[in-house]
């Protein structure tokens, strides 16, 4: 299926209804959103399976084998099981905040994926400052987790909420500094232009320090080990998810993988040349790179030890921040001046 086919699917509904102008645009957006949502669901599912299988291989286990070929249906079975469980809201919880924030986070992350382009012609929103919009919304997520943690009324979730804010303070500034360097190098914050600026060289080659910092900060952003202090399953039981019962926990799992998808997409778009690549169509390249980045994130998860929250703050301010500044200066001196 080529990009042209995809585009014709998007405009199919509005064309067949004979719509035009603003109304057609709205219908097209909705159709696009549904398509992307399906893509996210498929990818989240595949990430979940990849994670289980990869970690199992690293740990000298088999992983799921029983449900479906190579255990491909295991996550579906788990999903159904979780949905069938009882839904409990703790007495101490602020019900609306507690239950409202998880769907909210999920919709933020899906919305962010919606803002990202998947192919040169498959761009929903071509905003001039698209990348800034993405990062502003992204830094909103830890605050929502903070609200959720305190709303649940559980002490472990409360500690997790505090950690969430500390984490935000430790990696957000280096992240934005690297983003500034990317913007300066591409000459634009438009996502499509950032990708097309990497036609010759990937930004990961042009500023390796920035890439490493961004990768580390992204691990923290999507709450992956070694920076999963918020969830810290053997300290805080499940962190801010401790009191979240089954149906909402399903959403939380979904959120987890959506954020991983988002994180790897951002890494690919900003540093690994986005959809640039020979032979294969752009969207395939983009998703393939995504899978490779996700694989590395999973391998890191399986092999490392969790960092301590105060050490992360120290690491962020003593190493990441000066290095991010250095990266910005070097980028300016070599490529821009």
């Amino acid at each position: 299926m080529s990009i042209g086919d995809l585009l014709s699917i998007i405009t199919f509904v509005s064309d067949s209804l004979g719509l035009s102008g603003t109304l057609a645009n709205i219908v097209n957006t909705v159709v696009y959103a549904v398509l992307i949502a399906i893509l996210i669901v498929v990818f989240d599912y595949l990430f979940g399976w990849l994670e289980r299988k990869t970690i199992a291989k690293i740990q000298a286990r088999h992983g799921p084998t029983y449900v479906g070929t190579y255990g491909i249906l295991q996550n579906l079975a788990d999903f159904v099981k979780l949905l069938a469980k009882e839904h409990v809201v703790p007495k101490n919880a602020d019900k609306y905040l507690f239950l409202g924030t998880i769907p909210m986070m999920l919709s933020i992350s899906i919305f962010l994926i919606l803002l990202l382009p998947f192919a040169p012609t498959l761009i929903e929103s071509n905003i001039g400052l698209g990348m800034l919009v993405v990062f502003v919304l992204l830094s909103f997520m830890p605050l929502v987790i903070f609200v959720n943690g305190f709303a649940s009324g559980n002490k472990f979730a409360g500690i997790s909420a505090q950690r969430s804010v500390i984490m935000l303070a430790s990696y957000e500034i280096p992240l934005l500094l690297v983003l500034a360097a990317v913007g300066a190098l591409a000459g634009s914050y438009n996502i499509a232009s950032i990708i097309s600026a990497q036609n010759n060289y990937w930004f990961a080659v042009m500023m390796p320090i920035g890439f490493v910092i961004f990768f580390i900060a992204m691990l923290a952003e999507v709450e992956r080990p070694p920076f999963d202090m918020r969830e810290a399953d053997n300290e805080l039981i499940a962190g801010w998810l401790t009191d979240v019962s089954a149906p909402y926990y399903t959403l939380a799992l979904f959120l987890d993988y959506s954020r991983m998808f988002l994180g790897s997409l951002l890494i690919v778009i900003l540093f690994l040349g986005g959809w640039n690549g020979p032979l294969l169509p752009p969207i395939v390249w983009l998703l393939l790179k995504c899978f490779i980045v996700a694989f590395f994130i999973i391998v890191i998860r399986a092999t490392t030890v969790r960092m301590r929250i105060d050490k992360l703050l120290r690491f962020g301010w003593i190493w990441l921040m000066p290095l991010a500044l250095l990266n910005l200066i070097i980028t300016y001196l070599i490529f821009i001046r």
Partner: protein, 362 residues
Amino acid sequence: MTTINIGPIHPSTHGVLRLVAEIDGDTVVRVEPHIGFLHRGVEKLVETRMYMQSPPYMEKLDYVAPMAYDEVYVAAVEKALGVDVKERAMYVRVVLLELQRIASHLLWLGTMANDLGQLFTVFMWAFRDRDMVLRLLEEAAGARMFYVNMRLGGLIRDLPEGFQEKADEVLDYLDKRVKEYEDYLEKNPIFMQRMRGVGILSREDALNLGVTGPVLRGSGVKYDVRKNSPYYVYDKLYFEPQVRNEGDCFARYKVRMLELRSSIRLARMAMEKMPAGDAVGMQIRLILPEAKNRIVTVNRELPRGECFMYLVADPQKPYRLSIRDPSFINLAAFGELAKGARTADLFAILGSLDMVMGGVDR
């Protein structure tokens, strides 16, 4: 200041330990272990049984290294009854006990890494390696977990044919694996950050709190029952107690890693020097030779520290048995160690103490 309740059902309390921690921000002000969820009254139970009916109860005290506990009790009974252990049986016991120590330390290694937030990777690897040792023990004793293979004066049976070759193979493999674990963990800067300088137990505190085993040796005290009051053939085998001076979690980790190596060497050495002969002990009978000594004490180096058994003997059954369990005493040091630590380090320290709740609650 928040008071949080950790356990008895919590992912990292290693069984049914309940901790009540007062936390100021991220710093632990005070932590109080609440124990007794696994109390079965074993010491009293033993009084109502004949001598050789009790080893199965003893094994459940430390379900990670059951054979070691079994051996302490049987040694106490042997001392009370005045039964001599056969020459070959001594060597066989040393081999099995060292293998048991290796199995126990491997389990500790896995759970320790798990407490630091490792996603079960080292845990799985360590369990796989532990299983090879368990298979050896199964061959020698006939069971995988609770062996009950100690008999008065010897064992239930001699080592099976070809045991030495198999054991040598496993020990060679483990030697390599221990190096791999060390490389894997110690070259990880985050691991070192989490272990170094965390939960420091000074030499004085260690002596005053009465901790034993790797916890004591991690604080720079060269005390090992196998060396200081040798039993069986430990005085004929060459080994040195492993000591580190830092007293932090890393020192305790390192001591256990070094002990894994020294246990591998000891098991090899004991197998080489093992004389031919008979290692089978007395059959289990309700009526045994009458006890000659009224009060006996036995101390042994278990994987977790020094176990001390005090037995007042009636002719055919114990009148009173009192056990000094190493995990229980080591856990008492936890409150001291955790003071001023970070919340996340609470579990690193708990993991480095390596206690088994079966022994703590008795």
